[in-house]
C-alpha cells in the first residue's frame, strides 16, 4: 500500500570509482571541498506522477551549519528535504532524477543501503510523532533496530540523547511513562532525541515548530543552535524570524525552483533576486 518502491532514474552516471555506496561503512570524502559540504544536490527533479514538484535544483549544504529552507506553501521544500533521506521512496508515483550526495556518496546510486542512509540522516517531522510506547522505548527504538544490544548500553545512550535534546531533567523520573503523556513541545524534543540517538551526521527538520507555542519554539531553536555544533541541520520553516535566528544559510524556493541561496543575513537584507526580496519582506507567501 503506502510503502512502495520508487524507481529512481539517475541521470548522473559519471561517478565511478570515487562514489561510495552507503553500505555500512562511512564513505570517505573525495576531495578537500567536499569535506565542507554535507549535502550536494545536482540537477534535482522530482515528479509526483506527471506533476513536476521540483525543477532543476542545484544546492550545497555546508557541514555543521544550519540551513533554512524558506518559500511559500507548495513550493517543494518538504519534497526536497525528503529526497535527502529518500523518504520519497515511500510515496507511490514519486520519481526522483538528478543526484543527491551526502558526504560525497550518491544516495540514489544503485545498491545504496537506505536503512543505513536514514540512520545517518535523521528526520524530525512537522507534527510530533512519538510512538505509543514509553519515553525510554521511543529513544531506544532506533538503537535497537540498528543492532545496539545490552540494557546498560541502551540506557546510557538514551540518557545522552535526552540530555542533548534538553529533555532529560523533565523526564528522568518517568522514563517508563507513555510518550503521549508529554506536552507537544516535549514530544517534539523527544522526537529529536530519538532522531539523534544513533549519532546522525545530518538532521532534517520539516517545520519542527509549527505545531508548538512560542516558548516551546524557543527551546527547540536553542536546541538547533546547540546541535549544529556537531550535526548538519536543514530546517524547513515558514517563520522568517526563525530562519534569521537559527540559520547560517538560507535557501529560498519558489514554485519548485531554487531562487536564491546564501548566508541568511544576505538573503534577508541584501538579496539578489527581486522575488526573494518580495518574499522576505512579506509581499507574498
Amino acid at each position: 500500500m503506502i510503502l512502495a518502491d520508487t524507481s529512481t532514474d539517475i541521470s548522473q552516471k559519471a561517478h565511478g570509482a570515487g562514489t561510495h555506496g552507503l553500505t555500512g561503512t562511512v564513505p570517505v570524502t573525495t576531495s578537500a571541498t567536499a569535506a565542507r559540504q554535507a549535502v550536494e544536490v545536482q540537477n534535482l527533479e522530482v515528479f509526483y506522477g506527471q506533476h513536476r514538484a521540483v525543477h532543476n535544483v542545484n544546492l550545497k549544504i555546508n557541514h555543521r551549519e544550519v540551513t533554512a529552507f524558506i518559500g511559500p506553501s507548495g513550493c517543494g521544500k518538504s519534497t526536497i528535504l525528503r529526497c535527502f533521506n529518500r523518504m520519497n521512496d515511500l510515496v507511490k508515483h514519486c520519481r526522483v532524477q538528478g543526484s543527491v550526495k551526502i558526504h560525497g556518496a550518491d544516495i540514489y546510486a544503485r545498491g545504496t543501503d537506505v536503512m543505513e542512509l536514514r540512520k545517518r540522516t535523521g528526520m524530525v517531522f512537522q507534527k510530533p510523532n512519538p510512538f505509543p510506547k514509553s519515553i525510554h522505548e521511543n529513544v531506544a527504538y532506533p538503537l535497537r533496530i540498528h543492532g545496539v544490544r545490552g540494557k546498560a548500553v541502551i540506557a546510557e545512550k538514551v540518557e545522552k540523547s535526552l540530555r542533548l535534546a534538553g529533555l532529560w531533567d523533565e523526564v528522568k523520573d518517568r522514563l517508563h511513562a507513555s510518550a503521549l503523556s508529554l506536552s507537544g513541545g516535549q514530544q517534539q524534543r523527544l522526537c529529536i532525541a530519538r532522531a539523534i540517538a544513533v549519532d546522525p551526521d545530518v538532521l532534517l527538520m520539516d517545520e519542527p515548530c509549527s505545531a508548538l507555542d512560542p516558548i516551546a519554539t524557543k527551546t527547540i531553536e536553542s536546541l538547533i543552535n546547540e546541535l549544529s555544533k556537531t550535526i548538519t541541520i536543514v530546517v524547513v520553516t515558514h517563520n522568517m524570524h526563525q530562519a534569521v535566528r537559527v540559520a547560517h544559510q538560507t535557501a529560498f524556493f519558489y514554485m519548485g525552483n531554487l531562487v536564491e541561496t546564501g548566508p541568511t543575513d544576505k538573503i534577508f537584507h541584501n538579496p539578489v533576486q527581486h522575488q526573494t526580496l518580495a518574499y522576505v519582506t512579506g509581499q507574498f507567501g
Partner: protein, 315 residues
Amino acid sequence: MPSDITPAPTNFQHHEWGPRLVSALAKILCTAAAAVALLLLFVILGYMVWKGIGGLHWSFFTNLPLEEPMGMRNCIVGTVILAAIASLIGVPIGMLCGIYLAEYSPKGWSTAVIRLTLDVLAGTPTILFGVVVYQIVVVRPQNYNGWVGHISLWAHRVQSWLGITNGYSGWAGGLALALIMVPIIARATEEMLRLVPLSHREASAGLGASKAETLWRVVLPTAKAGIITGIMLAIARVAGETAPLFFTAFGNDTMVYNPNRQMPSLTEQIYNYSQSDDPHWRAQAWTASLVLVSMVLVFSAAVRIATRKRRIRTH
C-alpha cells in the same frame, strides 16, 4: 455595490414543526428498538440461567454422560481442545492474511477480490466448512479422480505424514473451525492495521527501520488490542459452532484427549440432548448452554484483563 448594508435581522424564534417531529420520532424509534433488542437478549440469557442453573453441580464438571449422576466433563474438555486446535491453525493464518492485505497486497482488483472473498466466507453458513472438511479429510473417496480427488489425495498424504488418521476426529473438527476463523481474523487484523496512523510508519522508516521491523515493532503493537479483540470474537464464535462438528469431530461419550479420535463438544451435546424425550437430558442441555456461555465470557474477560495489564506496564 457598497458592502456595508446591514443584514436583515434573523428571527431565531421561528418554529418549524416538521423537522422537530421527525427528529423526535427518530429518537423514539431508535430507543424503542434498542430496548426491545436488549430485552430479548436478557430474556434469552435469563431463561437459560433459570433452566440451566438447576443442573449445575460438581458432578456436571467431573462426570461423564453415561455416569450417574451424569456430567459433561468430556464435552467441556472437547470444546477446549477443538477451540485450541482451531486457534492454533486459524489465528496465525488469519493474521498473516490480514497483514498481507493491509501491508503487502498491491492496490487494485486482485486485493479487492481477496477482500470480497473473505467477506463472503465470513458470512458463509458454517455447515459448508464442515462438509468440505468431511469430504477432504474425514472420508476416503472411492477414487482420486478430478480436482476434488487431487485435493483429497494431497490432503491424505499430508495427513498421514502428520500422523492424523482418517475418519471423524478432533483434528477434522478443529480444522473446520479454523476455516471459520480465518476470514474473521483476517479482516479484523486488516482493519486494525489500517487504523495505525501513517505518522508512526513514517517515524519508524525515517529512523532507518525496514518495513518488517516497522511492522513488527510499531504497527502490530499499536494494533494489538484491536487484533486481540478480533481473535477473541472468532474464538467465541467457533466455540458456539455445532453444525460443522457433526461432519468432523462427530462426538464421543467417553473422555478423549487424543485429537485423532472422535471428539465430543458442548454444542454437539446440547443439540443431542435438547432433542431428547427425557426431561432430565433436556435439563442437562440447558446446563451445558449455561456453562458454554460462561466459559466464553470468562475467557474473554481473562484475555482482556491480561492484555490490559501488560499495556499499563510497558506504556
